[in-house]
Symmetry: C4
Amino acid sequence: MSEVSLSVQAAIRELVLANRILDREGVVDALGHISIRHPEISDRYLLSCARSPGLVTEDDILEFDLESRPIDPRDRPLFAERFIHGSIYKARSDVNAVCHNHALQLIPFSVTGTPMKPIWVMGAALGNETRVWDVREAFPNDDGMLVVNDTMGASLASALGMSRVCLLTSHGAVVAEAGIRQTVLVSINLVTNAEILLQSSQLKLAQNRKETRYLTEAEIASMSKLIFNPRALDRMWEYWAARADNNPGAAS
Amino acid sequence: MSEVSLSVQAAIRELVLANRILDREGVVDALGHISIRHPEISDRYLLSCARSPGLVTEDDILEFDLESRPIDPRDRPLFAERFIHGSIYKARSDVNAVCHNHALQLIPFSVTGTPMKPIWVMGAALGNETRVWDVREAFPNDDGMLVVNDTMGASLASALGMSRVCLLTSHGAVVAEAGIRQTVLVSINLVTNAEILLQSSQLKLAQNRKETRYLTEAEIASMSKLIFNPRALDRMWEYWAARADNNPGAAS
Amino acid sequence: MSEVSLSVQAAIRELVLANRILDREGVVDALGHISIRHPEISDRYLLSCARSPGLVTEDDILEFDLESRPIDPRDRPLFAERFIHGSIYKARSDVNAVCHNHALQLIPFSVTGTPMKPIWVMGAALGNETRVWDVREAFPNDDGMLVVNDTMGASLASALGMSRVCLLTSHGAVVAEAGIRQTVLVSINLVTNAEILLQSSQLKLAQNRKETRYLTEAEIASMSKLIFNPRALDRMWEYWAARADNNPGAAS
Amino acid sequence: MSEVSLSVQAAIRELVLANRILDREGVVDALGHISIRHPEISDRYLLSCARSPGLVTEDDILEFDLESRPIDPRDRPLFAERFIHGSIYKARSDVNAVCHNHALQLIPFSVTGTPMKPIWVMGAALGNETRVWDVREAFPNDDGMLVVNDTMGASLASALGMSRVCLLTSHGAVVAEAGIRQTVLVSINLVTNAEILLQSSQLKLAQNRKETRYLTEAEIASMSKLIFNPRALDRMWEYWAARADNNPGAAS
């Protein structure tokens, strides 16, 4: 990749760091992936070869077209589910970064049909509506669960619609936002929102309280402006980057 | 800050360490902040520029008046919610350190309306009454959730009253005490108290027990004397400081 | 062990690494053990002397026959429960690695009689049926709980049948698979499956949802092909190995 | 302490290591303490000055008589609750090490009146009966909660009786055993037993199971022989010591 432009080099560096951050913050483990739209060619995207996010280096980043075919595969193994990325970039011109993960805290929501609603100020990052894609409903004649081709990717992208977050039943989630820092932020806050929501439900039951309070649409709109403010994003990114650089017990 | 007095230098050092401790102990993450009243000018306070607590250095500390205007902003970004600090120092001459955080364990209590009552010996640090400030009730015509001006700060300070702890519904908490070590102690114990209280509620329900036992006012008073004893505070502070100095995987 | 063949050397290295990985991923702690069938002599297996997995080195590996007698004990202490390994290798010619652990997340299932069913895509690694061995039922006249002889080992192997996983009531689990990477994978995913299943049950109850969705047999079959694919295994193994090499706060 | 005998030196070294282990394993935090009976003078015991266990060094160890008076206080601060140790050594000639801690997982049991029963093989370390000491019942005319004199210590020792474990309501636990390794083992397993028992109760409720299975007295007796076997203790101690030596993010 010695001939890439400065803007592509910067995108690759940011993407590698995003991989390390998602590993450090527990959003991904051995599995999961994050991509960024190519900064100069809008119908391409950058994604690592099939490797655990905590181990990804600049040399692992490959370029794909929106049918998720590698431009130059360099004999590297590819993620079977890379079609998630291509399909979402195709459907959403406003999206420039996509994350797919299996964070365990998310699974209880989709397998019980519990809506994932923003429950604290920073949960506003999830947006008004978290969608759900159920592979069984979408492909009733197929036992496969993973998004391994364009048809499945398009179905998932359609379920996501204009939302930021779509849960994949029994599987995990996809997050799509305008930039990579936003996508990382939403991915991290989604997991925390799930933790708080589970605990709140448990406390309500155990303490026999009448209701759990969620954010209103107006509150979500108001908080979103603050959360996605570039200076707020910079502050959080500086913190996550410092922790990722000093990741104990992670692959390095 | 080359011209500051020895007492101000000491306050700044203690404040930086408090930032690192709160990060290490999980009270704050990318967000949250702690301040200290100026040791020589009682209508001013010291607070870092807008930066994650685990990354704060002495150079990041700024001086504010009680309207939360920076004396010398040095082009640094400022916390939007610094008004929490100014408003509490204005209302509470007995308070010399204020912490605001979003610790996830606290949210379930405010969103379900569950009282945060001291449940174990060290929970006595919370004091007799944990207050709650609900931005929706305080400002029903405004969708903003954060404390971004003096009016909102005054409303929060009024809700806090003479207590040590006030939960902010769907948001987090503020803690205010006579010194920075006390404020750090209460902030840490508040999170642990929330964890124990949730688990106790769950165990009571699952085991069909009749009641959960909380501390009495007399027990809180008796334990408070021991907890806030300077020697006890020194012992805990020595421990937290050692851990903050050796913080794996935290920003440093 | 200076005279062992290259294939045995490789097996020993893989076994030592598997020990470190299981420690790093929290499947084992001071207790628990993993073995590998001898790569050249199919009625023998390799297992460390009685030592915590996180501390095991190549020099600790001993060779056993299928009655679990050490070929050359070198005065090392032996695991009292080594009969688990010999008995399973005897009963299952398809199995080449066996893990026994006490992961705390598994115990609630056996002591309440709750079936351990695969609940998310990676839970397919558990296979269609997790079996249960109850020492009280198997040996009603004996108060011993551990598998300390061939008779008890045979009883456990019989309960395991052709499954990959057998829970030991009030005790832990055994995992048996075709290779050591597969056995490590199933051991790790079993613990995560338990965590997700507990959380899902709690969320269903607290949110008053109608049902929890588990994987179907067809989904388990479909996912298993992908999970046990050598390239997928390599990717996960690379990640776990990197983390085990950089294990903070673990024995080393 | 330059003149102490070899056996006392060894006891001090073991005690310092036990302090570090209890910190590393999360049994103690800033607070909590462990002591050992003097190896040569049976009516004395060794305990650190008032310092967090994770920071204790050989120089911090002091000698006390069974009224918990320091033989040579060397101007060090003393634990207010040292009377726990003296009183138990006085009442129990079979006990040679005592630990007191506030592990948060233990509190839910005493505040809801839930019996702490051994629930998995290693929970047998707790013994047949975990006792409970309630300061409110023992001293109804006193609001103090801590064990700060011989009278309260004697009351607690009486509640402990011949058991290994006594929970202190709203406070924590004491553990007493024949040797320091045994006391550390029981202290660690007590916390894990509490975690498993809470999770088992929750799973039983959420899955609508009929009962939770505990160990029988015969099983406890049978497992205890294995758990307290010196070789088993050595194996666990080797592991904990290695982790304590390599304690990330702990004080050191």
